[in-house]
Amino acid sequence: MTDTATGGTGAASRNRDSALTRFLRATEIDSRILGMIGALVAIWVGFDIYSGMLRPSDGLFGGTFLTARNIWTLLVQTSSIAVMATGMVLVIVMRHIDLSVGSILAFVAVVIGSLQVFWLPQLGLPIGHPLIWVIALVCALALGGSIGAIHGALIAYAGIPAFIVTLGGLIFWRGASWAVIRGETVAPMDKTFKLIGGGISGTTPGSIGATASWGIAFLICAGIVAGLLYGRKQRRKFEFPLRPVWAETFLAVTGCVLVLGATYVINRYYWPTGVVNRWAEQNNVTVPEEGLDISFGYALPVLIALGVGIVMTFLATKTRFGRYIYATGGNPEAAELAGINTKRLTVWVFALMGTLAGISACISAARLDAASNALGLFDELYTIAAAVIGGTSLAGGLGTIYGAILGALVMQSLQSGMTLLNFESAYKDMVVGGVLVFAVWLDQMYRRRLK
């Protein structure tokens, strides 16, 4: 899938291939990912230039979009949907759908919100107790996972279509979240828990600062290089054709430059003066005339989304669990006949989806610093849209985790960019809806051409 479009036999046909085709074959890059990154870059640059024409600022192209601050915010805003989209890919690959994630998110959020604000304090853990955020987090994962498992069991063992079960879930859990708090808004969240959302709690930011961000960046670079070397070693061991050395080097350098560049940009977003002054006051530091530049660094929700992305990619491509999900999506009967317990697999996939909704619930509630039964409204649609824009086929069997994350980023970029430009929300919806359909059409054209 990654290399040949022609099934190329013989040197003659190979010579006719364009430079791009040869490049893609040598590096084994999925050309769809290139397309998506291209689209993302076009959106970003377009917004920056356009916003610069309206109101010049210090963005890369003179606008307000490609500033460190906006990129930082954009990533934080994407994280909740991105986390859920990774799970939605697997659900859709298995030829199911989950319409209930937004409602699960709301239910988990109001439960852990009430837990922090009402229940735990009543049980003797005073507000601000260091255990509260841990308990809230564990409960969120367990609760989300259990709800997902119940949905999965109904789908797998009771034989009710996923569309119906999760449509029921969409309505049920939204109602249940209302019932838990009777329509009230629960706020504020625990001071430590709040950091999961990436915001500032007093003078403690929900991000890791410049040094740790660089540390993570170098770790990822090392990972990229190690992965390439390991792959090469494996290929050599089994005497497979190797990638040309220039292609390997290109991949390593490009990967590292991207990671380090992103980190550089992120680290250029500094604490706002209000927070710096408060911090300086508390720590008896005098702020110099020109101000103090303290970097936010990567925000916790972004790191959570990144971690989820890596774990989910690993699950999808390197474990039996993932292999079985894709095989079942490709041909459920064949998977069954190959001895795969597809029913249990279904339960696990939905449980995983629920757990991810639980993680997103923590991110959303922590970010808003409040939990209400309106949280996550329409999120199921954005999550499905992210997966589909990212190349997941609703017919099942096809889809990638990184695609879904990129899809979420594309969608959020459009929304943030248009907000930045003061678009009316009616037009925003029209653009996002149009892009969804256009992306799927483009993807289908591409696949057809591939055949």
Binding site: E184, V186, G274, N422, D429
Partner: protein
């Protein structure tokens, strides 16, 4: 402020005439709810029931379950039962007009409760909704900012209330905008009045203006929560006044903490109590137009003039928190959670 006083006086005046009426034979007062699945109507019902029964009258109710045809059938049934007064929370204010006509023909007096029904004979009892927007803006000018960069976080674009509110807001702020004192730097609708959406919009607004925002007019408390979170991330919460409405518990806590300027509060119990007191009087035969405090209203879509009583909402700022606590709307601990001792009088 003066609206609130007027309301209080009106209620007191009504309450004092009540006992005289209550010795008469028991009348039946019915309420046709458009739905009973939302908690707020339970608050209204409790207030209405209490006043109706205190006067020796009987309270009955029907639930239209969000169906215009069910509501029409409900009203017909109530008329046939021979009730004296029907209060209607209309689901569809146009479709229900024939039912109002039918009731009037049968000699049953009608009250449109909270939702306007443009029948010139029916008394309309509601909160002054345009007034909420005006009140927000007035409070902003009196206790917040009178000049600078203003951000406007509006509700759902599909909800006419979002636009009504904005009209009220602009009515008050327009002179300052025209004079250039106030600059409208961002103005966005918020899908479904979602707090997280409001937060994103506010973040974008702050980024686009490099944090140069002096005041935020948010159309409700939920969105105000999102706005305050966005401000807090920039270390600006507390220094930028933010408006809201609904009297959300979390919002009242923010008012106490100083991160939100005002929550405009419409006390459903005042609405219920007022309407029930009128119902009692109408049941005794008092003519609607001679009722104390009733004026006329013609601000509906068709411009029909109806007898009306508009209850002024109450702008709850930090110095007025005691009112919501004393009214039993919210527990003191909730309002005062995390408040530094001595900083807010209502919390001491």
């Amino acid at each position: 402020m003066k609206f609130a006083v007027k309301t209080l006086l009106a209620s007191v005046a009504l309450a004092s005439v009540m006992p005289a009426a209550s010795f008469a034979e028991g009348k039946t007062i019915a309420v046709s709810w458009k739905t009973f699945q939302e908690e707020r109507w339970k608050t209204d019902e409790a207030a209405i029931k209490e006043v109706v029964e205190a006067a020796g009258n009987t309270y009955i109710s029907t639930d239209a379950q969000l169906s215009a045809s069910k509501q029409a059938a409900d009203i017909e049934g109530l008329v046939n039962q021979g009730v004296d007064v029907i209060m209607v929370v209309a689901y569809d204010s146009d479709a229900i007009l024939p039912s109002f006509q039918l009731a009037a023909d049968s000699g049953v007096k009608m009250i449109s409760y909270d939702v306007l029904v443009e029948d010139p004979n029916a008394l309309y009892v509601t909160f002054d909704n345009v007034g909420v927007g005006r009140l927000m803006a007035q409070t902003m000018l009196e206790k917040g900012k009178t000049e600078g960069n203003f951000a406007f976080i509006k509700g759902d674009k599909g909800d006419p209330n979002a636009t009504f509110l904005f009209q009220g807001i602009m009515e008050v702020l327009q002179p300052n905008i025209d004079s250039g004192a106030i600059k409208n730097v961002c103005e966005t609708f918020t899908d479904g009045w979602k707090p997280d959406q409001a937060q994103r919009n506010m973040e974008q607004c702050l980024a686009a203006n490099n944090n140069a925002i002096d005041a935020v007019v948010s159309e409700n408390d939920g969105m105000a929560g999102g706005v305050v979170s966005a401000l807090e991330a920039q270390g600006m919460a507390g220094s930028v006044p933010v408006t809201g409405q609904d009297g959300d518990h979390a919002a009242l806590n923010r008012v106490a903490l100083g991160t939100q300027l005002v929550s405009v509060w419409k006390d459903a119990r005042v609405l219920g109590k007022t309407a029930a007191e009128y119902a009692n009087q109408i049941a005794e035969g008092t003519d609607v137009t001679t009722l104390d405090g009733v004026s006329t209203f013609n601000g509906g879509p068709k411009g029909v003039e109806v007898p009306a009583f508009l209850i002024a909402p109450n702008a709850i700022t930090q110095d007025k928190l005691a009112e919501v606590i004393d009214a039993g709307w919210v527990a003191k601990e909730k309002v005062c959670a995390g408040v530094t001792a001595g900083s807010v009088p209502a919390c001491d």
